[in-house]
């Protein structure tokens, strides 16, 4: 018997035993639990470091000040996953990771909070992530892209014209999907049922005309909708494509806008889709 035969026999025995022993469901659950435990441990470690740092800063600053001055409160705990930073207009560069998003830039008490996995190369805006390096429409590059989370209130009768105004689309997911799909200048598609993170809704694609001049629109913006906490949603430039997932999350309407400029590659567009389908929800506390 050659050594080759001996090893192959040993492999067969090993594989038979492994196939008998491996319980994929059980081991996958175990893996998820281990990951969650280690993430908590990691966050606790980070929290301890932050608390110690904050205490150090507090000690140094209070030592240097009038002893009658009220002490500065230490930094708060880091929630898990990380809250998406960059609520300011220009946003901040964020490392790859899981982030809890503020829908429409404001906490929604009683509603689960969306959590997405963001790859490297994006900036956080509190309620959105994108690749735009600035807050001006003129800063947008041909392959810029992003994802934002909205509570839509009104839909503009026309995104560009001088007489544009926002109207209430109605309360349901289908009301809003219909209003966005038929919005002038947006070339909307028919709403199609979709499920994301276990929540049902409708999917619509819209676009911005390729040769439109935004400077000729009212106020210089091409607007789609208004929301309670943001000025409203304006598009970034001609040719922009918006993919909208309009979900019913426990009776509350959530709009996820995955947008990209016409120069984005299929791989870059896929990144946006992957972020959408990485969505989970964190229970509110």
């Amino acid at each position: 018997m050659s050594i080759d035969d001996v090893i192959r026999d040993a492999v067969e025995a090993l594989a038979t035993n492994a196939a008998r022993d491996v319980d994929r469901d059980k081991m996958f659950r175990s893996l998820q639990q281990t990951r969650a435990r280690r993430r908590v441990a990691s966050n606790l470690g980070a929290t301890c470091v932050l608390v110690l740092l904050a205490f150090g800063v507090w000690t140094v600053t209070t030592d240097a000040r009038d002893p009658q001055t009220t002490a500065v409160a230490p930094a708060g705990l880091i929630p898990s996953p990380t809250a998406l930073p960059g609520a300011g207009a220009a946003g901040v560069a964020i490392p790859a990771g899981s982030y809890a998003v503020l829908v429409d830039g404001s906490p929604s008490p009683g509603q689960p909070r969306p959590v997405i996995r963001v790859p490297a190369g994006y900036r956080g805006h509190g309620f959105a992530v994108n690749t735009v390096a600035g807050d001006k429409v003129t800063a947008v590059r041909p392959d810029d892209r992003g994802l934002s989370f909205w509570a839509v209130q009104g839909v503009f009768t026309n995104p560009c014209t001088a007489g544009k105004h926002a109207v209430d689309p109605g309360p349901s997911v289908s009301d809003l999907a219909r209003a966005l799909a038929t919005q002038p200048l947006r070339s909307g598609t028919a709403p199609v049922p979709v499920t994301v993170a276990g929540y049902q809704g409708l999917y619509v694609e819209t676009s911005v005309p390729a040769h439109i001049d935004f400077t000729k629109c009212k106020d210089g913006y091409f607007d789609s909708w208004t929301s309670p906490n943001q000025d409203g949603h304006y598009q970034q430039g001609p040719g922009e494509q918006d993919r909208l997932w309009i979900l019913n999350v426990n009776g509350s309407r959530l709009v996820i806008d995955g947008w990209h400029m016409p120069g984005a590659s299929q791989q870059q567009i896929n990144q946006i889709t992957q972020m959408v389908y990485s969505l989970t929800f964190q229970s509110s506390s």
């Binding site: 022993d21 081991m27 028919a190 199609v192």
Partner: protein
């Protein structure tokens, strides 16, 4: 009429200019980690067990390698061959563990403490894997990847980051050592 066809008719009636689209799905943009895990787990467990002292340790090493991929799936999942990455992590973990055990064993011998042997006689195949684990690191990894994962010389080279020539040398030397240890014939397969 299907649901989508009905939607298309409704879309036409509503004057929608772009008709019906199919929403993207997670599957269309790359395999989910769970799918990858379920597909690759049995072969990874077999690989890890080949290089581990006990089956349970092998299972733990396979899980650790999968966990490393799980944490960075956004990045790992976009690789051309995520399975190769996980195999490399797994075999590196396994040989590191073997080396730690060897150091621990030498220390125990120096202290005059001997491990008690198990009362259950090992299966015949276990003599083979015990001999594989005593091989130098790259030789043990090459043997495991060649026989357990059924990889080609080129695939093993890519997995371990070596040249194909060095993998051939590792395999040849490993076979010679194993044949001598296990008392069998060698056979040049490369």
């Amino acid at each position: 009429m299907t649901g989508v066809e009905r939607t298309a008719v409704a879309a036409a009636a509503a004057g929608l200019s772009r008709g019906v689209v199919v929403p993207p799905t997670a599957i269309s943009t790359g395999e989910s980690f769970e799918s990858f895990y379920r597909r690759q787990l049995p072969s990874l467990v077999t690989l890890a067990r080949a290089l581990s002292r006990t089956p349970s340790l092998g299972d733990d090493l396979a899980q650790e390698a999968m966990l490393a991929a799980f944490r960075r799936w956004d990045e790992i999942g976009s690789y051309d061959n995520p399975a190769a990455w996980v195999r490399r992590v797994c075999t590196n973990m396994a040989v590191s563990h073997i080396r730690r055990l060897a150091v621990e064993s030498r220390a125990l011998r120096r202290l005059g403490v001997m491990r008690t042997s198990t009362s259950i006689p090992p299966a015949p195949s276990e003599f083979v894997w015990a001999a594989v684990r005593r091989l130098p690191k790259r030789q043990a990894q090459s043997i495991a990847l060649y026989y357990v994962c059924d990889l080609s010389i080129a695939e093993i080279a890519a997995t371990l980051g070596c040249s194909e020539g060095s993998i051939k040398v590792h395999l040849s030397r490993a076979r010679t050592t194993l044949a001598r240890t296990l008392g069998t014939d060698t056979e040049d397969l490369t």
